[in-house]
């Protein structure tokens, strides 16, 4: 009796939950309304079966509850009934399958007029490639991927010269234009998924997969990796900006082609040295930093990191938060850097300066710091803290502990990394949330800073101190 009532209540409760639930498909922003239709059909057909069979179960359990005065009815088979039930089920299943297969046929055949965008995944970053004026993507090969050639471009393929390379987590698409998204991975499996687009597909190293869609609403949507890709899987996020064609064209024109990238890579260090004069006042002639002025050591930092930070200061992506006083100073200074090439020249010069082991200024528990670092940081920043270019994780070893601790607090308190275009900063926010309180942060900062002692290029310098 109780069982029958509870089954009936569960059925009714489930239906009410379904009807009342604020949690259901995220509003759609692509042409794939047909997928939502197949879901609706499935909800109705399976919902009907769920209600009918379970209510029948409840009724049965109630009606044929135990009685000493009654015996069950002996009935081993009922062919007619079994055939009927099989038939009805088959019809129901066919009703689900047929529309599904039609939509799938649509999905596997991108329209001829679709433009092509390539998405590349790697642990735990996104990058994008647009085919440029010739409408064709140049050849790329994972075997060619290096720090200087992160897309693995084949230099001699003319079709690749005008490809537009976007090393940022933010993808841009024009609204109402069908797009075939070509998917590649540089390392492990990833998955390109945007809830509002409905479609998703894994990215497989050594192979090329694809999906297609037509974005139908302007706006910015999250791209999430949905195939487990290592410990940083949950921070592998990007965004897709769906824009009016004119805005998209304007953005596309402002991006560097492969040709541009090759040119930018030819840096002029002497020019960088000249520019560095404006930095030396605070950061020191050798980039050794000055704690009294809150200027950290910058000598030896990877050029790509310095470039990214300077560009972020210049555009206000970093340092815009009022709580970041020193960041605000940097915004003012970076504004004086006229163009990309100047920034790159400067970064190359800073990178060439010899780094030294900074002095310990905080007190921290090294053992705890090591444990936290090894578990949460080392996978990107390296066991020795020297950074890993492919994940855009800069060198940390030997840097000022007070500076590291302050930045970690800034990430934790969403002072740094909160700008919508600061995707790497957002990743840091997610990771730092694991650390906890100020003392844990100091522990890690002291440990990381001390990692410089294990760097052979540092030893002489720190002895000289």
């Amino acid at each position: 009796m109780a069982f029958a009532i509870i089954i009936a209540l569960l059925v009714i409760g489930s239906v009410i939950f379904h009807a009342w639930s604020p949690w259901w498909l995220t509003p759609i922003a692509s042409n794939w309304g047909s997928i939502d239709t197949t879901i609706d059909i499935t909800v109705w057909v399976t919902g009907f079966a769920f209600v009918v069979i379970n209510l029948f179960l409840a009724y049965t359990v109630y009606k044929y509850r135990y009685s000493k005065k009654r015996r069950a009815e002996y009935e081993p088979e009922n062919k007619k009934l079994e055939i009927w039930l099989t038939g009805i089920t088959s019809v129901g299943v066919a009703a689900l399958l047929a529309p599904g297969l039609f939509v799938w046929a649509d999905f596997v055949n991108p329209p001829e007029e679709a433009h092509v965008v390539e998405v590349t995944g790697q642990q735990w970053q996104w990058a994008y490639r647009y085919p440029g004026a010739d409408g064709k993507l140049g050849a790329a090969d994972p075997g060619l991927i290096t720090e200087a050639n992160p897309f693995g471009m084949k230099e001699d393929d003319p079709a690749g010269r005008d490809d537009i390379l976007v090393e940022s987590a933010i993808m841009h698409l024009p609204v109402d234009k069908p797009v075939k998204v070509v998917l590649r991975s540089k390392d492990v499996l990833h998955d390109f998924a945007v809830a509002e687009f409905r479609v998703k597909m894994d990215m497989v190293p050594g192979a090329v997969s694809y999906l297609w869609l037509t974005p139908t609403k302007t706006g910015t949507y999250d791209i999430l990796c949905e195939e487990l890709c290592g410990v940083g899987h949950f921070v592998m996020r990007g965004r897709v900006k769906v824009q009016e064609q004119a805005d998209f064209d304007q953005w596309l024109a402002s991006q560097n082609t492969y040709e541009d990238a090759l040119a930018l890579a030819r840096v002029d260090r002497a020019n960088g040295q000249a520019t560095y004069a404006m930095c030396a006042g605070c950061h020191g002639v050798q980039g050794e930093g000055n704690p009294a002025l809150n200027a950290p050591q910058i000598a030896g930092l990877q050029d790509w990191y310095v470039t990214a930070q300077l560009e972020h200061f210049k555009t206000g992506i970093r340092g815009g938060n009022p709580a970041d006083t020193y960041g605000a100073q940097m915004i003012g200074l970076a504004a004086a850097l006229p163009d990309s090439q100047t920034i790159r020249n400067l970064s190359a010069y800073i990178n060439s300066l010899p780094a030294t082991q900074t002095k310990q200024t905080l007190s921290g528990n090294l053992k705890n710091g090591k444990e936290l670092y090894d578990h949460n940081c080392s996978v990107c920043h390296g066991d020795n803290g020297r950074g890993v270019w492919s994940v855009h994780a800069p060198k940390l070893a030997g840097m000022d502990d007070w500076y590291l601790a302050r930045q970690l607090r800034h990430f934790r308190d969403k002072v740094r990394g909160a700008h919508p275009e600061d995707d790497l900063g957002h990743q840091m926010q997610l990771m730092v949330s694991v650390l906890g309180d100020d003392q844990a942060i100091n522990d890690v900062a002291v440990y990381i800073s001390g990692l410089g002692y294990s760097d052979p290029s540092y030893v002489a310098a720190s002895k000289a101190n």
């Binding site: 197949t38 069950a72 081993p76 390392d187 894994d202 050594g206 949905e226």
Partner: protein, 589 residues
């Protein structure tokens, strides 16, 4: 003297005498079954604790400093693998398969008792190797239970050094254990049935276990080779599954391998694996339902053929786990078609369970509650499978919590409810004692309602598009604050369900210690195991003479017969017919 088959000569049985031969190096299928069951439940408790830790992190992110992403992915992986392989497979086949096959077909033991013993010890070894990975440098693998390469063996994944190798080794040893046990089950069913026990008279438990074992014998080799190949890629530098790629900025010494190949091998094992767990559950639950409903199983032949058909079809649906894997998308047409076909025999089974209850005389015992609870959860889990099996519908839902909710309903909650039904049902025979009915009911309601409270809302989180295997969701544009509150509520439900399991263990230990002595056939069941000369059955099961079978196992409420059940082994002449004036009302047909 007339010829007596070996199976009928009690003096040939070499009854074990010492404690060690009786309970440790035992070749008795019943002792081996209990060893299998005990080990499986023990490691299952570890997996349960891991799931609680995961739920704590998901429900209350940024609260538990001792759970970091590395830990979390290790919990995810070990929880999944333990539950699917080391608990469910081992408990259904090594546990109930071992216990029930000889008893239900009227054999004295498995046909290869020594191999059977060896099977258990290899299983125990595989569990020890698996558990050892918690204690090696870097900890257990965190590659997800599917162990997809390249990431399973590259830096950036927890346990990529030692943990993954122990996992692969453990799986290989498990497959060896399974093969020894499985060959035994199949041979025993085919060769050792007693007089009169035709295949179409076997209880559905045996049918389910039998077909599941055949599936396992075909499917597990795929897992075995993929484990060996991945170990080669890792240790010897081969490139079965490893393409040219970079790993955290450095290029690897591999080229030309295919990660998708691994997925095909894994799911060629992995999908039949679902039915390796489900078919025994189908069988066991059929017997429990029929017995406590006091009614014949409805459509026995259809039930047998459905088991066989599902088993066969389960080998041609594997790539429905791979619709968005990047394999050639045209495969989607074929696999969606085969997958949805499998819904038909599965639905028939559900109908027949409900129709078994229809016009029955249902006794609301504890095993019956679990069995009927299974019907509800299985309907729910089966129907959501129609979403994911249909390739188009899978697109938005794949890799979200909808998938997690679906397979936990169909592959977690449902088989576990059957396991509990079966444990409560056969407990009196296995232990010779009755369990505490009240505690059993508390256990049922807590588990049944609690798990539904966990998984029903989880489907809706998945429908939003919330991805699975995320240590923290952080901020996104589409996950509302309310979804976080819902996640917290789900965690509370999970904690309650986990706590309720303590009631089960209290019940088992209390009943073993001072439970009421059980009647040999407390449920008035018909199948052979309830008609052994001793309870629990002694070594050799049947005393001097093997039982002889005269009918199927579902002779309940037979018209014209006095009792409402007729055991399989009672000769037709001994069946007491009804006399005038008996109190039972005869049914109309």
């Amino acid at each position: 003297m007339a010829y007596v088959p070996i199976a009928d000569r009690p003096d040939e049985m070499h009854d074990p005498q010492s404690f060690i031969t009786k309970y440790i190096w035992s070749q008795d299928h019943k002792v081996i079954a209990i060893q299998y069951g005990g080990t499986a439940i023990a490691i299952g408790v570890v997996a349960l604790v891991l799931s609680v830790l995961m739920r704590l992190q998901l429900g209350f992110p940024d609260t538990f400093a001792f759970i970091d992403p590395t830990d979390y992915y290790q919990y995810v992986t070990m929880h999944g693998m333990i539950m699917v392989v080391y608990l469910l497979t081992a408990l259904f086949l090594g546990g109930f398969g071992n216990y029930l096959i000889p008893l239900q077909i009227g054999a004295r033991d498995m046909v290869f008792p020594f191999l059977n013993m060896l099977s258990y010890w290899f299983y125990l070894l595989s569990v020890i190797i698996l558990a050892a990975s918690f204690f090696v440098a870097g900890g257990p693998t965190g590659a997800g239970w599917t162990l997809y390469p390249p990431q399973a063996i590259t830096e950036g994944t927890p346990g990529a050094e030692g943990g993954i190798l122990l996992m692969l080794l453990s799986l290989a040893v498990f497959v060896v254990a399974f093969t020894m046990g499985g060959l035994n089950y199949v041979t025993t069913v085919l060769q050792a049935r007693t007089h009169g026990m035709t295949l179409m008279r076997m209880p559905l438990s045996v049918w389910g276990i039998f077909v599941a074992t055949i599936l396992g014998l075909f499917a597990f080799p795929a897992l075995f080779v993929s484990a060996v190949m991945m170990a080669f890629d890792h240790l010897l530098g081969t490139s079965f599954f490893m393409p040219a790629m970079i790993s955290l900025g450095e290029s690897v010494e591999h080229a030309g391998g295919s990660p998708i190949l691994f997925q095909h091998l894994f799911w060629f094992f992995g999908h039949p694996e679902v039915y390796i767990v489900a078919l025994p559950a189908f069988g066991l639950v059929s017997d429990v339902l029929s017995t406590h409903a006091r009614r014949n199983i409805f459509g026995y032949r259809m039930m047998v053929w459905a088991i066989v058909a599902i088993g066969g079809l389960s080998f041609i649906v594997w790539a429905h786990h791979m619709y968005v894997s990047g394999m050639n998308p045209y495969f989607g047409f074929f696999f969606a078609f085969t997958t949805l076909i499998i819904a038909v025999p599965t639905a028939i089974k559900v109908y027949n369970w409900v129709l078994t209850l229809w016009k029955g005389n249902i006794r609301m015992t504890v095993p019956m509650l679990f069995a009927m609870g299974f019907i509800f959860t299985f309907i729910h889990g089966g129907l959501t499978g129609l979403f994911l099996g249909n390739v188009t519908v899978d697109l938005p839902l794949s890799d979200t919590y909808f998938v997690v909710a679906h397979f936990h309903m169909v592959m977690g909650v449902s088989p576990v409810l059957v396991l509990f039904a079966a444990i409560y049902h056969w407990f009196p025979k296995i232990s010779g004692r009755m369990f505490d009915e009240k505690l059993g009911k508390i256990h049922f309601w807590g588990t049944f309602l609690g798990t539904y409270a966990i998984y029903l809302p989880m489907h809706y989180i998945g429908a939003l598009g919330v991805p699975r295997r995320y240590f923290a969701l952080g901020t996104t544009d589409f996950i509302p604050e309310s979804a976080f509150e819902l996640n917290a509520a789900i965690t509370v439900a999970a904690l309650i369900v986990a706590a309720i399991q303590v009631v089960f263990f209290i019940n088992v230990f209390k009943s073993l210690w001072k439970g009421e002595k059980a009647d040999p056939n407390p449920w008035e069941a018909t199948s052979l195991e309830w008609h052994t000369p001793h309870t629990p059955p002694h070594h050799g099961n049947w005393g001097p003479n093997l039982p002889v079978v005269y009918r199927w196992a579902y002779e309940y409420a037979t018209p014209g017969v006095k009792d409402d059940f007729v055991p399989q082994s009672v000769p037709p002449g001994d069946v007491v017919m009804k006399k005038k004036g008996d109190v039972f009302k005869e049914s109309e047909h």
